[in-house]
Every structure is written in C-alpha cells, then in structure tokens.
C-alpha cells in the first residue's frame, strides 16, 4: 500500500504512539524498536512503514543499518490542534479549485 496516510490515523494507534515516544529520545534501528514490544516483528515493521509514510518518522542509512528518528517538524504540526481544521478547509478548497478548473467559462 502506497497511499499517502493520514497523520491522525497513524497516531490513533496505541502501538504507534508508543513507538514515537520510544524514538523521541534517540534514533533506533527497527530491531531495537521491536525488542521493546511483545508484538511480532512484521507487525512492528508495518507500524514503522506507516509512521514513515506519513512523515512522522524519518530513516537514515548508517552503514548497513537503517535508523529511525522523529521528524520534529511533522510532530509539531500534529501537536498544533488547529492543523486538522486547516486540513479540512485545505481539502475543501482543493476540491473547489479542481472543480472550477474544469468549469466551462
């Protein structure tokens, strides 16, 4: 699935919130993150994929290892409670724009 994921869907899940808290203090590999959970490794990988897709996490290649770390800018957006309201209007206006671009003048 390569759909652009909704940030608020991502943080609605308790495991994903736990991952964000864990990685907030230091960047970690997928293995190190998974070691903190009783969940199966593929499930954690899926969570990491979702968090990366919605840009809450970023990956950096460190030799053979991939480290995950927090995208502070994106986290700030989420913490800002106005953001969902802004997104709602942004989506409406995007729709308005695309409808009117095809409107016969």
């Amino acid at each position: 699935m390569n759909l652009r994921r909704d940030v608020f869907q991502a943080i609605a899940d308790p495991s994903r919130r736990a991952i964000l808290l864990l990685v907030a203090s230091q960047s970690m590999t997928a293995g190190a993150i998974a070691a903190n959970f009783n969940t199966a490794r593929p499930t954690i990988s899926k969570h990491l994929q979702i968090l990366t897709e919605c840009e809450l996490l970023e990956q950096t290649q460190n030799g053979r290892e991939v480290h995950y770390h927090i995208n502070a800018q994106k986290m700030k957006e989420v913490a800002d409670f106005i953001e969902p309201f802004r997104q709602m209007w942004d989506e409406r206006f995007n729709k308005l724009e695309s409808i009117m671009k095809n409107y016969p003048r």
Binding site: A12, I82, F85, K95, L96, E97, M100, Y103
Partner: protein, 154 residues
C-alpha cells in the same frame, strides 16, 4: 506538501481567519460559492436553499457516514458579486450557536484570486471547541477504520 490554506487563530480571541489563494479567476471562485450544484460538490453537502441576495437565506444538509442528517443554515447580510459575502452560519441542534462570516473575494491577476474568510464566534470557548472538532472526528474515524480492519482479520 504545499500550504495553500492558512488558518490564523490567536489565543484568547473569539474569531479566526482562513486565507487561501486560488489558481482561478475571481469570477469562477465566486461562482463556486453561489451555484448550488457546485457548492454541493466541494462542500460535500446537499443545498436545500441558497438565495444569493441581501436578506436572502440558505440551508444545507449533510448526511454523515452513520446516516444522521445535519442541517446548517444562515442569513445573507451582504452580497456583492466577485467581492464580498457576509452571512451568518449556524449548525442546527448543536450548542455552538450562530457565527458571523465575512468572505472577502479578491482578484490577484486575471487567472488567480484570494479568499479571506473572517469568522466571529459567540465566545472564545466556542471557537476553540469548533477548531478542535475535526481533530475529534479524525481520531474517531481512525478508530473506526482500525476497528473495521481488525474485524476483517478475525
């Protein structure tokens, strides 16, 4: 992601401003606000009534995913084509009360325009509650979606 829409809501104030620039001539932007079939498309609502004139009124009805109907209505106080719409807005059967909306339409170039929507609420508390609504809805929808996914897996 390009940030075309900005929301300005100062702490402790009972108002906010939503600003957006469009790649559309101001005439088309205005038309999107005044043609019922077009309003229905971008607002995702049914237009029951839309009288584009001073002292005119409007009424919209939306149906949520659970099938509940929500009605919105208001009165138009100023209507100047391609320039300004001033109106009240109220969600029926909610504690939010009426809000006052100033929509300023501005021509930037022949093919671009700007909308400034200035909304005044009854109180600071009500404004903050309304600002947070999409967040609650978003979280609930995410929970429901997760629930659906979980149910499918069982």
């Amino acid at each position: 992601m390009e940030r075309k829409t900005t929301v300005h809501a100062e702490d402790g104030k009972q108002e906010l401003t939503i600003t957006r620039e469009f790649d559309l001539p101001v005439e088309l932007l205005f038309k999107a606000y005044t043609t019922p079939e077009i309003v229905e498309q971008w607002m995702g609502t049914k237009v029951i009534k839309l009288e584009n004139q001073k002292h005119g009124s409007y009424q919209f009805e939306t149906t949520d995913p659970k099938g509940n109907k929500h009605v919105f209505h208001g009165t138009i106080h100023e209507f100047s084509p391609n320039h300004q719409i001033t109106r009240t807005f109220e969600m029926e059967n909610t504690p939010f009360g009426v809000q006052l909306e100033f929509h300023a339409f501005e021509r930037l170039t022949d093919s671009t325009s700007k909308l400034v929507m200035h909304v005044v609420y009854k109180s600071v508390t009500l404004r903050d509650q309304i600002l947070q609504m999409p967040f609650d809805v978003g979280i609930n929808m995410a929970h429901n979606r997760l629930q659906d996914i979980m149910n499918q897996q069982l």
